[in-house]
């Protein structure tokens, strides 16, 4: 299982702040997970489309498309940060 968290504008747009999903069989990195989430269609396809500005963290570290994902990980997907 993965814990997937959504924050800020993305959470509002997707309508979910956190979910538990089984690690899809063919997903081993961030790019794969995002592609898998896009298959849900609708806002998922829109918000996570290539070229849209969002960031992904794996186990609370900033990640990129190639970062590995394994069972039990905490994944977070969120817009570019705007603190400070």
């Amino acid at each position: 299982m993965l814990t997937v968290l959504y924050f800020a504008r993305l959470r509002d747009a997707l309508g979910v702040s956190s979910e538990r999903v089984g690690l899809p069989a063919d997903v081993s990195d961030v790019a794969g997970l995002v592609a898998w989430l896009r298959l849900r269609g609708g806002v998922w396809e829109d918000e996570l489309a290539p070229g849209r500005a969002f960031r992904v963290a794996v186990n609370q570290d900033m990640a990129d498309a190639a970062s590995g994902i394994k069972d039990g990980d905490e994944i977070a997907i969120f817009p570019p940060v705007t603190g400070g």
Binding site: F7, V81, T82, G83
Partner: protein
């Protein structure tokens, strides 16, 4: 090093005093305070809510401060960042760095702020006359962080 994420306001004078207390080798303290402005992108702002990613935020801030400590010869650094509901003139963030000489403390303080702006998971939602809106990330912040590479 200390990193705090909190709803409560902070007292800059007391924080700077605590940071330098007990180290008479400190010759320099550079600090920065970020405040809520009553205007943004031309619109009047009545207030904002600061959201964060508990756990990762503290970890990201600590990693940024560690990078600064590895890069410049400084003694100590403090980051306080508020979350929750804030109104214009409220303090948002304090970054303070102590060292022997000013050059290193200025550089480390600005570096921490630039990285915080692009790496630490905080998001601002503003209240304007037209309703609430998420603040967009600024390209100028990306550029500011990139110049330290």
């Amino acid at each position: 090093m200390a990193v705090r994420v909190q709803q409560e306001d902070f007292d800059v004078g007391a924080e700077l005093l605590a940071l330098r207390q007990g180290n008479p080798k400190i010759g320099a303290i550079a600090s920065f305070v970020g405040l809520v402005r009553d205007i943004n992108e031309g619109d009047s702002v009545a207030g904002m809510t600061l959201e964060h990613y508990p756990g990762m935020t503290e970890k990201a801030l600590a990693a940024i401060v560690e990078q600064a400590e590895g890069r410049w010869d400084i003694y100590d650094a403090l980051v306080i960042h508020r979350v929750g509901d804030l109104k214009p003139t409220d303090q948002i963030v304090l970054v303070a760095v102590t060292g022997a000489h000013r050059g290193e403390t200025f550089a480390a303080c600005e570096f921490i702020m630039d990285y915080l702006k692009t790496e630490a998971p905080f998001w601002k939602r503003e209240k304007t006359a037209e309703g609430e809106r998420w603040v967009d990330a600024r390209e100028s912040d990306e550029k500011a962080a990139l110049r330290w590479r």
